[in-house]
Symmetry: C2
């Protein structure tokens, strides 16, 4: 069954991906994303106004030893990359929830990329048109160091019964 | 011990809050935050470009039945409110990780506020100058409905030994 589904996914690569098209172990890989100091500071000014995210000099005296992106900025960038490489999921990328950790801060000049793997596929028992996909992801910097690890639960729709 | 710490917190309300000043059950409450459609769309354009976050009309045909904020936007707003009401924690609000869920979407026109409670305080065994505070929070809309629930682990420093 899994190899059939994988074949189907390749065959319909430009179409919507339904729950039925996904396989455990399937990987989504993003493009590289360049992070700069200006975007770190502007995100922080709006959502996480703390010295280590706002000001190079003030950040030197903190536990971060220099400017660092807000973890929520790293999470938002991760979402952007995920939408770009997995946005064809039926119904869109709809998160029910997530576990998230930031083992190291993202820094100005970092080049980030995302690798996300399908680790579980659970059709809903009560709603036959949908299911939950568990996606485990790492957002890595240019040294292969994880700046974010996340396990997310996504709502994905099943292929409509009328579709062959 | 806990009532001593609570007294100390009140007495030094304008100063930095060390791990030693916190008590289990302590609550941080935020101001009200008004969410508008323009900010929902601009956050989405940058970080979560999907129809239900970007366009009123397209959003009607989705599972959200209308424009909804990205969960990461809700998370970022929550962080903003937390910095405002709990930003005096020693060293700043430094998240090691979090579990997050979005039971309902935040909508244009919603007024959000945050209630966060200290549920655990764990001094580090290996690093005597710090500990981990577990904060459980709810971000509520004007109807008291939770648009986000989060349990976050924060790194907080202890009062330096030289300070009385």
């Amino acid at each position: 069954m899994e190899s059939d589904a994988a074949t189907s996914l390749r065959a319909h690569d430009t179409a919507v991906w339904y729950l039925d098209d996904l396989t455990i172990g399937q990987v989504f890989s993003s493009r590289a994303f360049k992070l700069d100091a200006a975007s770190i500071k502007s995100f922080a000014a709006a959502f996480d106004p703390q010295p280590f995210h706002l000001d190079d000099e003030a950040a030197e005296a903190t536990i971060f030893n220099g400017l660092a992106a807000s973890g929520w900025h790293t999470a938002a960038i991760t979402m952007r990359l995920l939408v770009e490489c997995a946005g064809k999921l039926a119904g869109g990328l709809i998160g029910a929830g997530a576990e998230i950790a930031w083992p190291a801060p993202a820094r100005p000049g970092d080049t980030l990329d995302l690798r996300a793997e399908v680790v579980a596929i659970d059709p809903s028992r009560s709603k036959p048109d949908r299911g939950i996909v568990t996606l485990r992801s790492e957002t890595l910097n240019q040294n292969g160091q994880a700046v974010q690890r996340m396990t997310a639960k996504l709502l994905v729709f099943r292929r409509p019964a009328a579709t062959p």
